[in-house]
Symmetry: D2
Subunit: 357 residues, 4 copies
């Protein structure tokens, strides 16, 4: 139950009414290791409508350094950050074993949370959070299964949902990392890596996983002694979709995540080279291939987004022009005018821009 009386924090009522668009959400990032620092940077420079106001970590030195980098408050106790009246919402990027306590505190404080996966490290503790949120009567916690926001997975899910290819029969998955950090254990291949595929299966099929089996082949000689790497995981969903996952975290090169759907009347794969943005390639009675962008917004939408972000960043930094300037506009105009002349005459036209001021 939220007990905060702050009038500036997001109250349950204001949550229901919706924010005033002119007011950014004040966010604190808890845990500023590699992942938390990346999220802090994201909130500070890329996320419209967000204002990074604080970072918090039990490592005091690191907290102060990151706070200074972004010009925000350092709060040395994550629990204090959760109840801070100047903080509207929380990103939790601390180690997994701390998640249960922090998320429950955030639920009590009535504040929205984006919690990095895993939600918690055991089913029992996760179940406790499920029940706490259910008792609260509204959803405040989002878990960091970010593949749901990847264009490829969204395309694959839409394809399954469309029913065009009939019922799904198989999902063949591979998840490969170049190397593992020190002290990575055989269990962590499941808890740290396959956990993403578990969510992907549930997201794509809309079904729960009802059984799992792990087969341990021989290990690669590139893995540390004692680490069972790779592993082969077989899952079954409620309706009988068979899922296999090759998890291999010491390939020595690159990061690859791919999923292939095999349905009754067609197949589709993402994560392999091939295809335009999102990259889904299908096979069906119509042949193999993919769709063609229908217009420039689909093809270059991301480039427009980056263009605008970089322009605003340059304006704020007082270092305009970051992108193409007037000389570029002039040169293009001169070449195009010559092109129109050539179209009319059929002749080669020479262009002279004159001296650049």
């Amino acid at each position: 139950m939220s007990t905060t009386t702050s009038t500036t924090a997001l109250s349950p009522d204001s949550a229901r009414q919706g924010y005033d668009r002119s007011r950014p959400v004040r966010v604190a990032v808890l845990g500023v290791g590699m992942m938390g620092q990346d999220h802090a940077r994201r909130l500070a420079t890329l996320t419209a409508g967000a204002e990074l106001v604080a970072v918090s970590d039990v490592d005091v030195v690191r907290t102060d350094a990151v706070a200074a980098e972004f010009g925000v408050r350092a709060i040395h106790d994550p629990k204090a950050a959760i109840v801070d009246p100047e903080v509207d919402a929380l990103v939790i990027a601390t180690p997994g074993f701390t998640h249960e306590e922090l998320v429950l505190l955030a639920l009590e404080a009535g504040k929205p949370v984006l919690c990095e996966k895993p939600l918690t490290t055991t089913p029992e503790t996760s179940r406790r959070i499920v029940e706490a949120e259910a008792a609260l009567g509204r959803q405040l916690v989002q878990v960091g299964f970010m593949r749901r926001f990847d264009a490829g997975y969204q395309q694959l899910r839409a394809l399954i949902a469309s029913g065009e290819y009939g019922a799904p029969l198989f999902l063949h998955c591979a998840h490969r990392n170049a190397t593992t950090p020190p002290n990575f254990s055989s269990e962590m291949l499941m808890l740290d890596s396959v956990v993403h595929e578990v969510d992907v299966v549930r997201y794509l099929t809309g079904e729960e996983v009802v059984a799992i089996r792990v087969i341990a082949p021989r290990s690669t000689t590139s893995a540390p002694d004692g680490l069972q790497d790779p592993q082969f995981v077989i899952m079954e969903t409620e309706s009988g979709v068979l899922v296999d996952v090759e998890i291999f975290v010491n390939t020595t090169f690159g990061y690859e995540v791919r999923t292939e759907l095999v349905a009754e009347k067609g197949q589709a794969r993402i994560g392999l080279p091939g295809g335009f943005e999102g990259g889904m390639v299908t096979q069906s009675g119509r042949g193999w291939g993919g769709s063609i962008p229908k217009d420039f917004k689909e093809r270059f939408g991301a480039a427009y987004d980056v263009e605008f972000q970089r322009w605003i960043d340059a304006v704020r930094a007082g270092t305009n022009v970051d992108g193409p300037g007037v000389w570029d506009g002039y040169a293009a105009a001169a070449v195009c005018a010559a092109g129109v002349q050539s179209l009319k005459t059929g002749e080669r036209v020479v262009i002279d821009l004159g001296p650049r001021p």
Copy 2:
């Protein structure tokens, strides 16, 4: 993006000193046709550090409608918007023939401008802006050649700049649209479409275009009567790079833009299906292919960005949870715990989540 009470526009001095990060840039969009509306939406919902404060168009009804949609001011005279003290920077998306006057006014007002291409419709008028900005002594104008912000073009440019493949010899380009709007003229293939390739050539090679020739093959029967479509454009750069552009704007389907570099010791292409993000595929003495994402940031960075934007949007709208919730976190924890058990026993493990609260 927090609110601010400042009433002064960005002064030349403040531009040099840099903005205070906590203060958003107040932007007005001039021209709110299809393109301008899309830019207004981008500034209002995606660009961190920007605040859309006004829209302006000679079409009064449209201006009022778009202003209402975004909850910002409607300014019926674009020139008034430029000098408005509550406006820090301008996006110009009005028709090309108005650009000269508006950009010159913005230069006078000392305000940063992001001007949609073309800068102006003739070399003479563009040259006038070049000189006006030069006289001002600082760069305030960016032209909307957004392909410079596309991952593929950036990869291609970096490859040329690296010198790894030797000097560039050819750029083979294709630019294809499904259909043209009414009244699209043969000249507009050059002025509206090939203008992008002109900038691409200059961006990729760092050289000016010194000659151009347009060859008119027969027209497609899908083009309106009198429209010369497709055209074949040949350009030469200062050092002798030969550029050919197939421009074809009534293919009847899809939007395709591609560029292939042929250099002394290798080739590279973008814009064709194939490859991971950005999609560059190379050919050289090492074979054909591309690079593999080195880590999850490269592979899923965009997904994290979207995840955060959608989470903040949901928090602001008071409609949390938008993404995966605690049940998803619990289900994943339960499946992974069963997986660890299977890894130890080698047996298939059945999962029972219990009732959902």
Copy 3:
């Protein structure tokens, strides 16, 4: 391939000494269903050094028809064909249950056999043939595992053998057919289809398969009632390579066979779109991609082979010219001469071929 008057069959001695190149091998095809007819056509029209001399099938009408089509003898009893003195070698394409008896007869007769897969339908009967051939002291039987002659599988095998990617860990296979013939049983997915993957695994790794497990997911609604389709097969080799095979024989469209190798330091796949001839695409520390043909022989070798076969076929049929004729040669010469002129002058040159005789 000249004619010969020899009436003696290939004796064990002549086999050891080698054939005289000027003398074709006289082959009989036993079993002329779809597969046997295709093999008869292959021997009669494509295989240099072979002479189709007889066909044999228990279906007398079919035997006579096929014999007439190819202008060869019809022998109604396959056993008679095996001992016929005018027959040097045998292709066995009869149903699997007849193979044991026919192959053993051929061994007795000391004649080389190309036997369609399966060698026999049970391990016991196959073992009996192994022992009979071993007792004979020389190899006379080849089994029709034709994937060993596919460019892709050969490339994949060479890659494994090179050791460049370290030890193999996984082989992920898929084998898909559009539909099954009537009366196809659940066991036949294994005996008729997966049997190819079994040989592929042995061919690629050079190891025996030591364990197998079949998982039966739900069946596609496109499969006949009672047919378990698809199936998921997991095999293990001597050194611990884990092999999984998706076998799915009612996809409703197309025929697809693919294999992906995952080794300690790289991966490679064949059978997916992508890549030049053979189509192997690799992933390793050098990126993903493939090799580029090194010369025209590699790129167009097959085209030269077809060109020569079609030319000889036309000459034999007395219907020369089948391919490009002298007018084509003349037109090319005229265009190229004009091209050389244009290279010297830089001008467009018009070509006039004159009237065609």
Copy 4:
């Protein structure tokens, strides 16, 4: 006019009646440099129905060596080979400047000729052959434009002929070699390399080329001094199809030949990585992609052809078994029997093959 009285050579009458299938065509290869030797090997080992009987070259030593290698006659005067009564047909692989005389002699002798490109080195001499053959009243000469027998070009031609994509508008071609032999001149890029594209254009469109223009960009530093490499060739066909060819013969690596068709309603490309056999990839209103092999004959037809050729070669050489033997058949049978058992029980089944005899 044929003056030969030989009764064994192919007479005009026998040509009209067609050959007896049991009798091979006796072929002599004129010119046994790299290309001629390769053709001799092809005729001796791959082409069904052909019998290599002689080789001929002005280089006496080389002629004798090649003749010995293949066990055929050495004829030191190519003109003698043409009229030799034991020779039915001729492959001409001598230098281009000798072609006119040799082809005219073959026409006189009434013998079929497969003449390597170019037919002759000038339009005038080629025209003379056209007229000589026309006077003869039947076609005896085939020119070695072997791309017409490449699966990709055949697919592209069929696509154009189908009219599905409307009229062709562009053909974009690239032709790249790793390096050139010594003394390769700027004219030879046209006469030796682009000559293939000239035929491709005529083959694909069924139209004559009516104009040509060559643009010379700067040369690569990898080309010998004085060699204009690369070149850019623009051709126009009767109906107005615009063809551009990048010819680049010192890329330092690999051999690449590709063609892209741009038609009114679709595009298609061959020669790039991507696609199954033949490799055509299309773009149209249905998306981008290709077709899926419809059955095992399409996917593995070439493997069957190679399997049979290698089996016959091994039988002739007396070195059977070249391919998979009975142990391979036995091992597959044992694994599959275990697989069927696993399908029934759901359990992992261990396989024991016993000792190998």
